[in-house]
Amino acid sequence: MILPLVENEMLKIFRRKRFRVVVLILVALTAMIAYGNWRSRRDADIRRGPRDWHAETQRRIVEMQNRLRSRAIPDSYRRWMTFETSRLQYSLDHGFDPNALTGPFFSRNFIVAASFLLLPLLVTLFASDLVSSELAEGTIKILLTRPVRRWKVLAAKLVALFACVTLTVALAALFSYLFGGIAFGFRGWGAPSLTGFRSGAGGLDVSAVRQVPLWRDAVRVYGLGWYAALVVGSISLLLSILFRTTAAAMGTMLAILIAGTILPRFATGWDFAKYFFPTNLPLPDYFSGTPPPIEGMTLAFSVENLGLWAVAALVCSFLVFTRRDVRV
């Protein structure tokens, strides 16, 4: 009985301009980034001749080690460089080009980079008007005076939202593969990829690093990006219920997400920031060799933390939505 309601909600989302904007942004960004990467690769080749990745990686390691000796670099940056040198060294030792670029690699890297800010922003764009637009336009008065209980109406919205989040992540993967493939070739899903980097005491722990086919690594990255996007969608839905205008709901969520990218950088000593959900969004970073936002955070911690935020947001959403007096 809930399926026709989901159909309604999907129709409403697709007919609004927002979702089309999201798709356009994805196409434009992936195309631009692929083109930018391709150009800088080509320029470097013209300047230095064909790329020798051994020499290049070696040079970068030495560069970073030199800079690490200087005292004048901030802690968070020092931490990142320590991780990065270990990662590059490991790749070099085991014969992997850390900057290999093929369509599949490009696609995986895009989701890694997108999962902590771009995907959440795109999800916010269409999630934050799910309920607020019905309040603002007054359509909620018809929606809730039909013979359907309120919790079913909201459940249908939630299912439609999750379907659209899934579609967004799938489109991000597809477009990044498409444009990455045009720029760097479509083949290479079976290429080896390094995964399993962990943060250990004082640096990068490489003891668990192993090579897996790139497609397996990519599936995991897409999955985690998708999970993070679902959490952002759930929290956006709550804001969309609490605020009467889409602008207020979206503005609040954007502020929170951007604060989340800034906070760990400036509050490295402030342990409490790790309970703040945006700090936990960059899930794929945990095993690709970047330091966690705050020392001591692990993938399991972040997955649980995000899960709790989402569940709490959904519980609040249902409580408020089913009880509130509609006075618009």
């Binding site: 309601l5 159909e7 129709l11 409403k12 359509t139 018809i142 005076t145 359907v148 009880r323």
Partner: protein, 302 residues
């Protein structure tokens, strides 16, 4: 049995009681007017009838089901427009109707062509609602409310923002739905003339309370006055006092107004001629709803 019953509805908003102890019942085939000035509590009452807000006390049942307990069963029998006919502007008229039909049951969408014909929107049904005029949206709103063959139609200020022709159109539609199809129609309005022309029964709401509730005819009848023209009004007053249910009044040089029921008029005339009071003219006058409303609310206009 009544199709819709409101019992002792009470609601406070922001610390002020906006609806106090409001009760009424609707029968099939009647247009029930809910008349009151802006801010009298009409919209709050409508929202309680449709389950949009929860009453602090009292209950609403529709088709025998309490909306607080059996929301789905109760709402199955209702179509409503609360305030403006707000529909999805980026969707077409047809898509709007399909969306709300899907919320009722699988067969509800079958009635869309017939409903479009009823509200005269067939030719524009596939255009975006954003391009509709207010009158068209109001009609689409009514078509939407009629999906699923409801037994009760709740219309909140349906005449708002419409031109005289639009108001007339809606009035005819409402009357025919009630009188030909047997729907019970609840119509809230602040327009006296509208209510007087459309409704069979009316409740007059003022500051959250129902001041009077009866058929329009009987409400007005209770205020019927008989006007006598006579050269000696003072003598006539003394005689009429014995027959009138309220103190008769003299107006101008030669007019006396008395509250007489029909049967009492010949008796009063007999008394007057027995006392030698010449009567040149006897006229029964009926106030309009506006006068009645002013009397009931103590001079506050609608």
């Amino acid at each position: 049995m009544s199709v819709l019953a409101a019992e002792n509805l009470t609601k406070s908003l922001g610390g002020r009681e906006v609806v106090s102890d409001v009760s009424f019942e609707l029968e099939s085939g009647e247009v029930f007017g809910f008349l009151g000035p802006n801010g009298a509590g009409k919209t709050t009452t409508v929202r309680m009838l449709t389950g949009l807000i929860r009453p602090d006390a009292g209950r609403v049942s529709i088709g025998g089901f309490a909306i607080a307990r059996d929301f789905e069963k109760a709402m199955r029998h209702v179509g409503a427009i609360v305030e403006a006919p707000d529909l999805y502007r980026e969707l077409s008229g047809r898509e709007n109707l399909e969306i709300f039909a899907r919320m009722i049951d699988r067969r509800a969408a079958d009635a869309i062509p017939e409903l479009a014909r009823l509200v005269a929107l067939e030719s524009r049904l596939d255009e975006r609602v954003g391009t509709y005029s207010l009158g068209m949206r109001q009609r689409l709103g009514i078509a939407q409310a009629l999906l699923g063959e409801p037994r009760v139609l709740i219309l909140d200020e349906p005449a708002n923002g419409l031109d005289p022709a639009g108001i007339r159109e809606i009035r005819e539609l409402v009357k025919s739905l009630a009188h030909d199809r047997g729907l019970a129609i609840f119509l809230s309005s602040h327009l006296l003339s509208e209510v007087e022309l459309t409704c069979d029964r009316v409740a007059i709401l003022h500051r959250g309370r129902i001041l009077a509730l009866d058929t329009v005819d009987r409400l007005l009848q209770s205020r019927d006055r008989v006007r006598f023209r006579t050269p000696i009004p003072k003598a006539a007053l003394a005689v009429l006092r014995r027959h009138s249910s309220e103190e008769p009044e003299i107006e101008g040089a030669d007019l006396v107004f008395a509250a007489l029921v029909e049967d009492e008029i010949p008796r009063a005339l007999t008394s007057l001629s027995a006392e030698g009071v010449p009567v040149f003219e006897v006229v029964r006058t009926r106030p309009d709803l506006e006068t009645l409303f002013l009397e009931l609310t103590g001079g506050e206009t609608v």
